[in-house]
């Protein structure tokens, strides 16, 4: 019953976010700040993780090709498919749920604990619009992060494959181009947009409606990470079934 009430409150929050918009001159600054904080600030970790994940996928594929009849271009093919379909959109989103989600929950939760949200409300500001809307807009740039994660992941696979002696560059590139279906990229971007909205709103919900003190802010951050990850995994399954099934 509690879960149902929370789901209901979450959707009510989403509706409230779009009511009584904050003055555009103020909102513009907030959006730019959030893009810097949530999107640009995450580039380093995303590039680092994507490069090594791509590399590991290439090495593991290579090590599992024991049959000499299987062409070596499979390494490039498998790396491309894994990175574009799952590792870039889904794995990166789980990382972002931890990094960005915790930041969102703790920053909004701290504002709740220190009565800063009450101060906004008393001034007549729609605090949900002021706090959550800029995060949603900023996270709409998330597909750009995913695009970079795809490129870097594949580059990581090529680096590991070629310099590790598992594949020639020509074989790897041939594998990359083999049976390429452009819709897979569209599917990946559709997923990343949905995940972006989840990463912006679920942690905001946990921060905004938290009660208690500093300890509870920490607990809310952990809970928000768990729930964001769970919802991402479930939504990933549903979208895959709908778009590719």
């Amino acid at each position: 019953m509690n879960y149902l009430a929370s789901i209901g409150s979450y959707f009510i929050m989403i509706i409230e976010v779009f009511k009584k918009p904050t003055k555009w001159s103020v909102m513009r600054t907030l959006i730019l700040k959030e893009i810097d904080e949530l999107v640009y600030g995450s580039m380093g970790i995303i590039i680092f993780i994507s490069f090594f994940i791509g590399g590991v996928v290439a090495i593991q594929t290579a090590l599992n090709i024991t049959n000499p009849l299987i062409p070596r271009n499979l390494i490039g093919f498998a790396t491309r498919q894994s990175v574009i379909l799952e590792f870039a959109p889904t794995f990166t989103s789980i990382i972002m749920a931890g990094k960005v989600g915790s930041y969102i929950t703790s920053s909004i939760g701290t504002m709740r604990v220190t009565e800063q949200i009450d101060a906004l409300e008393i001034m007549g500001v729609n605090s949900l619009n002021y706090l959550v809307f800029p995060k949603i807009i900023a996270m709409l740039f998330y597909p750009f992060v995913i695009a970079i994660a795809m490129y870097v992941g594949i580059f990581g696979g090529w680096t590991a494959g070629v310099f590790g002696g598992f594949s020639s560059s020509a074989d790897f590139v041939e594998g990359l181009q083999l049976d390429f279906i452009p819709f897979h990229v569209t599917y990946s971007f559709v997923k990343s947009i949905v995940f972006a909205l989840l990463i912006a709103t679920i942690p905001s919900f946990h921060g905004y409606y938290m009660k208690g003190g500093a300890l509870e802010v920490g607990k809310a951050s952990t809970t928000s990470f768990v729930w964001t990850s769970v919802v991402i995994i479930i939504v990933n399954y549903i979208l895959t079934q709908l778009l590719l099934g």
Binding site: K23, V26, Q116, D118, E121, I122, M123
Partner: protein, 255 residues
């Protein structure tokens, strides 16, 4: 002027406010006192519109809050200033940013007009060198002054303070009390302060209401509180030996 008529508020089975009525006059410092759990904070949050009373009405200069449309309620809230117990300053903004925030949100003033107004109110609360400091870089007393400056920057009609001098040393606490009192008279604001600081009661309590278990137990001024025979009030206000002696001396002097 704020008129409160028979308000009740419950949370689940807990009946917190049990029919409180009072009038808070313009230009006066009105104090709400009472022990922890007496309903002070819930009462203040009802006055601020953060909680909706289950019964009864609250009217601001004749306008009943519950009968206003949501946009009228928001407009009314812009006429309210609030000083929170923990100051509630925005951590990510400087002192100047905090005070300028309501002006930027709700007025069409130019940057220089806003700057002039911010400089004026910060000077009024005796803060002249802290414009570019962040809340974490200033003392508790200075944070309270910034909170007062932010609360009055829009020229509010109503000023609410939740334990404005808690956590401050006695000297700073008196300075903050006097500052609120001066501002109330200077700008003819209806000020309501939630406190359990007896120095505030004696110094600036032009009207005091004492709450006990969600009921208004007593109402009067700081002069009348010396003479009251209400046992609940005397037990609470004169709980320390020092205040008992002060009261005794006052009564003897008057006789």
């Amino acid at each position: 002027m704020i008129e409160v008529d028979n308000i009740h508020k419950s949370f689940g089975d807990a009946h917190i406010l049990k029919g409180i009525s009072s009038v808070f006059e313009k230009g006066k410092t009105n104090l709400i006192i009472g022990q922890s759990g007496s309903g002070k904070t819930v009462f203040l949050k009802c006055l601020l519109g953060l909680f909706t009373p289950d019964e009864g009405t609250i009217s601001y200069d004749g306008k009943i809050y519950a009968k206003l449309s949501p946009s009228e309620q928001r407009n009314l809230r812009q006429e309210m200033g609030m000083v929170f117990q923990g100051s509630a300053l925005f951590d990510s903004m400087t002192v100047e940013g905090n005070v300028m925030f309501p002006l930027g949100m709700f007025t069409k003033q130019s940057k220089s007009e806003m700057q002039d107004r911010v400089d004026f109110v910060l000077k009024r609360v005796n803060l002249v060198d802290a414009h570019h400091k962040f809340p974490s870089e200033i003392s508790g007393g200075m944070q309270k002054r910034v909170a007062i400056a932010r609360a009055i920057v829009m020229n509010p009609k109503y000023l609410f303070c939740d334990e404005p001098n808690s956590g401050l040393d006695p000297k700073t606490a008196i300075l903050i009390d006097n500052l609120i009192h001066e501002i109330t008279q200077e700008y003819d604001i209806t000020t309501v302060i939630n406190t359990h600081d007896m120095n505030s009661v004696m110094e600036i309590g032009e009207k005091i209401i004492f709450l006990k278990n969600g009921l208004k137990e007593w109402e009067g001024s700081n002069k009348e509180i010396f003479k009251t025979e209400n046992e609940a009030v005397t037990d609470f206000v004169y709980s320390s030996e020092l205040f008992k002696k002060v009261r005794q001396m006052y009564i003897e002097e008057r006789n």
